[in-house]
């Protein structure tokens, strides 16, 4: 259950999206956009929402006490703008702040740095034809692919969303309904108390809670979103620390309940094992073997799975005419993967061995 905060709400503006003749309306959908100092990106997000083939009933921007004019930019788009009297402390807190105002059957959460393909909402709504579906998420690709970190993230997403996530969806168990772009059935979301702040990965917490409540989650690859990914090491490290700790916190919280969920229990166990062992191998074993045996060939272990990685990249990149781009980004992926390994080991050590939980929510850009 969400901790209740005595935050007075300031509704700064309220209106509904204007529709053109080509757009259909999606009655029963409210979009929530939590925003803290997102002046550089919230405009693009709102523009992409207003250009959707299916326009939502209402768009609520939660200006979480920004100091860069985020609220003013949002207001200029004619959306509903709410502003708590104090910073809520996290994305989940900001989203919950708006949830109380939602009157529609469905609610969508989208990050203030995320734009959508023009038909993303139209494609995602199909998932809710099944009354047991509580949440649906779409394909995610970085909006900008320029720096080393963005390139690595691009390969990571293209691989995972082309292969892993689609397999998970076939077995009815997408691991996470991504926080940057997901749609929910409101009453099921409210039954869970909204987005919880008890872990740093509220999207994973909510997804696993839905499963334990007997609900379904869907992944719709045709619904595409484009968030801004961390562009330098400083922001990337914050995001990786948050995600790694969030994953470990969620395993700690949900492990007993997950044991009753077929396929998901196996997927999480395997991911956990692989992440710990692979991280250990990447960070310690490979360099040690190369030094002890004085043979640099051991370092091939960092890139030995290149052919295996290329296949999903080819399948995912070719329809988008981006296979060449994916190929050129491949070296960056190996760097990101090794850095990811460090943060995961650090999260396991901190949360499980030292019993020191990390609870500071830091933005990733």
């Amino acid at each position: 259950m969400q901790e209740e905060k005595n935050l007075s709400e300031l509704v700064l503006s309220q209106s509904q999206p204007k529709k053109t003749a080509d757009q259909c309306s999606y009655p029963g959908l409210t979009v929530i956009i939590p925003a803290y100092n997102e002046a550089n990106s919230v405009g693009d997000t709102l523009h992409s929402l207003q250009q959707q083939t299916c326009v939502p009933d209402e768009i609520i921007v939660v200006d979480d006490c920004s100091c860069d004019g985020t609220g003013e930019i949002a207001r200029s788009f004619g959306v509903t703008l709410v502003r708590p009297s104090a910073n809520t402390g996290s994305k989940a807190g900001a989203q919950n702040f708006a949830l109380a105002r939602v009157k529609t059957e469905f609610v969508m959460a989208i990050d203030a740095d995320t734009t959508l393909a023009p038909d993303a909402i139209e494609k995602l709504r199909v998932a809710f034809d099944d009354p047991e579906v509580a949440a649906a998420c779409g394909f995610v690709l970085p909006r900008y692919v320029r720096t080393l970190w963005e390139r690595g993230r691009y390969v990571e997403y293209l691989f995972a969303f082309t292969f892993y996530k689609q397999v998970q969806d076939y077995y009815g168990k997408p691991l996470i309904s991504s926080g940057c772009f997901s749609m929910y059935r409101k009453y099921m979301l409210q039954a869970q108390g909204g987005w919880s702040t008890r872990t740093l990965a509220e999207d994973m917490d909510l997804t696993w809670s839905f499963y334990q409540a007997g609900h379904k989650i869907r992944f719709i690859p045709q619904a595409v979103s484009y968030p801004i990914e961390p562009h330098n090491y400083r922001f990337m490290s914050r995001q990786l620390r948050r995600w790694s700790h969030g994953f470990v916190q969620n395993v700690t919280l949900h492990w007993k309940g997950l044991l009753e969920i077929p396929y998901l229990r196996s997927a999480v166990a395997v991911i956990l094992w692989d992440a710990v062992i692979a991280s250990f191998v990447f960070l310690f074993m490979l360099p040690l073997l190369a030094v002890v045996f004085q043979n640099p060939l051991f370092l091939l272990g960092y890139i030995i799975d290149v052919p295996a990685l290329l296949i999903p990249l080819f399948v995912g990149g070719l329809p988008r005419k981006e296979f060449g781009k994916a190929l050129s980004c491949l070296p960056a992926f190996f760097v990101l993967r090794t850095v990811n390994a460090y943060f995961f080991i650090e999260a396991v050590w901190s949360e499980w061995v030292l019993r020191r939980s990390f609870n500071v929510y830091e933005k990733g850009h």
Binding site: A160, M204, I271
Partner: protein, 161 residues
Amino acid sequence: MNVGLPGTGIGGLFYLLSALLMPIREIWLVLSKGTRFSHKRLILTQCAIAIGILAGIWLTGWLLGAALVSSQKEAMLSQMPTAGFIHEDYPNLIKTTFVFLTLGLLMIILASVQILKLLIRHRRRRYTDQQFIKRSSQTRSAISAEYKGGPETKASATSSR
């Protein structure tokens, strides 16, 4: 988000097997539950990806084997320049042993999850039974305490006459 995105470790093998089992599962659902054969395109695509990955892994092993043999051959030739024709047989470095070891490890992890699930269920059942027994005995105590007032009072009244 994908924490610890694996390459071809246990996680990769898990998803490879999951993808290869998709058509079998679909056929089983059609035969046992009478459902329609849906998700054809998804199943074909994911199976093709899995087979492609397996071929890629095999090719990697073969290329590494070829590179190793070539480097050994060069070393031999440099030491014995008058050596005759050397038959080249490129071994695949992806040995069957490694594959079965990795598969075995995956099976152990999955089996451990099942065992843990049964253990937790057993503990829950025992806890529930203990709670039930505790509540039953509390209820019995409450009933007998309430009943003590009735028959004993009647008996003492009878005996006083």
